[in-house]
């Protein structure tokens, strides 16, 4: 190799190293479009969620069902100034006595005033929920109406859990969205158990898993937690402790059709998740993000991808929600679309 060529090679390698080191530094906040940049990356969100999870482990929510129960799922409400559809979802859940309501992310577009609107909406929804299901016995305390426990447990207003459980979506975390989202919902990665007291005297447990996929990846920390078995739900002999397991997350696994341009998980992570859901013995995975309906089975796991309920995408009334019915006689699980009637106000 001539001296001139050696100089070129050294220069080239130096340039590659320089560029490589720059790329590594930039890696957390790269966006080819430069439109949506997260203030808080997935690793930080999970670290914060894990701390919240550990600090509030004793406050873990247990939902109690008596025999048959149902729950309601919605996605991509993108609340802005008009929260009509979000309000309708919560009203439907209250009217039809669903055990809980799950939201698959992109709950509001990232502006402080939109989250203030959402917060007010949730505050009012909880008040309606308490009015419908609890009886106030003094200035501060409530008991559940129709409680079969004697004496019935007494709750303060703050103790009563409003059964609305969201996951975080990519539109929830743009700019400083995580600060707004986490101020209301605290954790983007959590689990909830349902205790179902069956008519025959037996007890069944169902498992609700909420994953943070708002960045198109679960990130190393969340994947490590999953690998450590934090959401495993299995006995020592490997059998599942749960009758049904439901997973709620934002990013869709499967692309519904060719002309859907929303990004999905990268290859290895797709296969990791499909394998993990099978290992968890998941009954159904609920996804959003792509704003298009899709339903399929893969390796005995059912996958539902929900259309967006937001007025901007779907201004006309339609079946944008899903209700899952869990029945004990016969022991089965079915889902049905739920119609939404709200039409946005014309400006």
């Amino acid at each position: 190799m001539s001296g001139n060529m050696k100089t070129k090679v050294i220069l080239l390698l130096a340039l590659v190293c320089l560029a490589a080191s720059s790329c590594v530094k930039l890696r957390e906040k790269i966006s080819p479009t430069d439109i949506i940049i997260a203030g808080t990356a997935v690793e930080d969100r999970i670290k914060m969620s894990e701390i919240f999870y550990l600090n509030h482990y004793n406050d873990k929510v247990w939902l109690v069902a008596e025999g048959d129960y149902s729950f309601l799922v919605g996605a991509d409400s993108h609340v802005t100034t008009d929260p009509g559809r979000m309000d309708e979802m919560l009203a439907i859940g209250l009217r039809d006595k669903d055990l809980f309501y799950a939201h698959l992310g992109d709950i509001a577009d990232t502006k402080a005033e939109y989250y203030a609107t959402l917060d007010s909406l949730l505050w009012y929804a909880k008040w309606r929920y308490v009015e419908a299901n609890y009886e106030q016995i003094n200035d501060y305390e409530y008991i559940e109406k129709d409680s079969k426990l004697v004496p019935p447990p007494v709750y303060t207003y703050n103790d009563i859990v409003y059964p609305f459980f969201p996951v975080v979506g990519n539109h929830d975390i743009t700019r400083n969205g995580w600060a707004l989202w986490s101020n209301i919902f605290h954790s983007s990665f959590y689990e909830i158990d349902v205790i179902d007291f069956l008519d025959n005297g037996e007890i069944a447990f169902d498992h609700l898993i909420f994953l943070d996929s708002a960045s198109g990846t679960l990130g190393k920390t969340q994947i490590d937690l999953i690998k450590r078995g934090i959401l495993n739900g299995k006995y020592d002999d490997g059998t599942s402790a749960y009758r049904y397991t439901f997973v709620f997350t934002h990013t869709n696994i499967f692309r519904p059709q060719f002309n859907e341009f929303a990004s999905t998980f990268p290859r290895e992570e797709t296969f990791f998740l499909l394998d993990q859901f099978e290992d968890w013995n998941v009954t159904c995975v609920f996804c959003g993000h792509v704003h298009t309906w899709d339903e399929r089975n893969f390796n005995s796991v059912h996958y539902l991808t929900l259309d967006a309920m937001c007025e901007a995408n779907n201004p006309e009334p339609g079946d944008y929600l899903v209700r899952v019915n869990v029945t004990q006689d016969p022991l089965m699980l079915e889902w049905k679309p739920v119609h939404m009637n709200y039409t946005p106000k014309k400006k």
């Binding site: 190799m1 060529m5 070129k8 090679v9 080239l12 390698l13 340039l15 590659v16 560029a19 490589a20 790329c23 590594v24 890696r27 957390e28 906040k29 790269i30 966006s31 080819p32 479009t33 949506i36 940049i37 997260a38 990356a41 997935v42 990519n170 975390i173 743009t174 708002a214 960045s215 198109g216 990846t217 679960l218 990130g219 190393k220 994947i223 990013t251 499967f254 692309r255 519904p256 059709q257 060719f258 859907e260 341009f261 929303a262 990004s263 999905t264 998980f265 990268p266 290859r267 290895e268 992570e269 296969f271 990791f272 499909l274 394998d275 099978e278 399929r296 893969f298 390796n299």
Partner: protein, 247 residues
């Protein structure tokens, strides 16, 4: 219908010999003398799911004529436990001082860590000018969890076939493509052994022709997750380095 398409593609794959070689701008065209090429590279990097990984890949290309060539390759990525083989046939159409290549590419990936077999068929057009290269094409991607006891259930409905996937790539070099050395930037939604949906990877590539028949090359690749419609978040970063010999 999916079974029929899969059957045809699988038969084509079994009947083909060779695979897709690691190619760089300015190096694809038959030089008129050396009909055979062999290339190999080492790779290492970090992936969010598998952690640190290392691997290797090897390729062989044969030029039948000035227009037609066929290439074959393999890849092993340890820790990920990813095993790949691929095959590619190419037709070159010269257009003035540029070249338009038509590539038919078949890949079998075995993600054994999670027990998945992925089959990809891709057809694309690759236009190469002095400083810029562009690729557009479509992919057929099917994957399934394989049964460790025996046959892959490729002809059953247990797998999943993705809707046709658009692929696109852009590369820019700082020197003319026939220069003895070059340094370039690329952005695309595919790599040698995978075609993504809407996840874009980008990076820097370089090569140096050491002698008339020996070249060294390198590629630094940043592969974020969620780069279209979501937030580009660290997913995989890798570096390849290798040699190519022609005779």
């Amino acid at each position: 219908m999916n079974r029929f398409i899969a059957s045809v593609l699988l038969l084509f794959l079994l009947g083909s010999a060779g695979a897709f070689g690691q190619t760089y701008s300015g190096e694809r065209k038959f030089d008129g003398v050396h009909k055979n090429e062999i290339a190999g590279n080492l790779a290492g990097g970090y992936n969010t799911v598998s952690g640190v990984f290392i691997g290797e890949a090897g390729f062989y290309t044969h030029h039948f004529t000035d227009r037609w060539s066929i290439t074959g390759g393999e890849q092993v990525q340890f820790i990920k436990w990813l095993f790949s083989i691929d095959a590619m046939g190419t037709y070159r159409l010269p257009i003035k001082r540029t070249n338009l290549y038509f590539d038919a590419h078949l890949i079998n990936n075995f993600y054994t860590r999670w027990g998945f077999h992925e089959f990809i068929a891709n057809a694309s057009a690759y236009w190469e000018t002095n400083f810029v290269d562009i690729r557009f094409g479509m992919s057929y991607i099917r994957y399934l969890k394989y049964d460790v006891k025996g046959l892959y259930r490729f002809f059953t409905d247990d797998g999943y076939t993705e809707p046709p996937t658009l692929i696109f790539g852009l590369g820019i070099n700082i020197r003319p493509r026939n220069n003895p050395w070059n340094l370039g930037f690329f952005i695309r939604n595919y790599d040698q052994f995978y075609y993504e949906n809407w996840n874009i990877n980008w990076g820097i590539r370089a090569h140096v022709r050491v002698t008339d028949d020996l070249k060294i090359f390198s590629e630094f690749n940043v592969r974020p997750a969620g780069s279209l419609s979501q937030l580009a978040t660290r997913y995989e970063t890798s570096l390849k380095a290798g040699v190519r010999y022609v005779w």
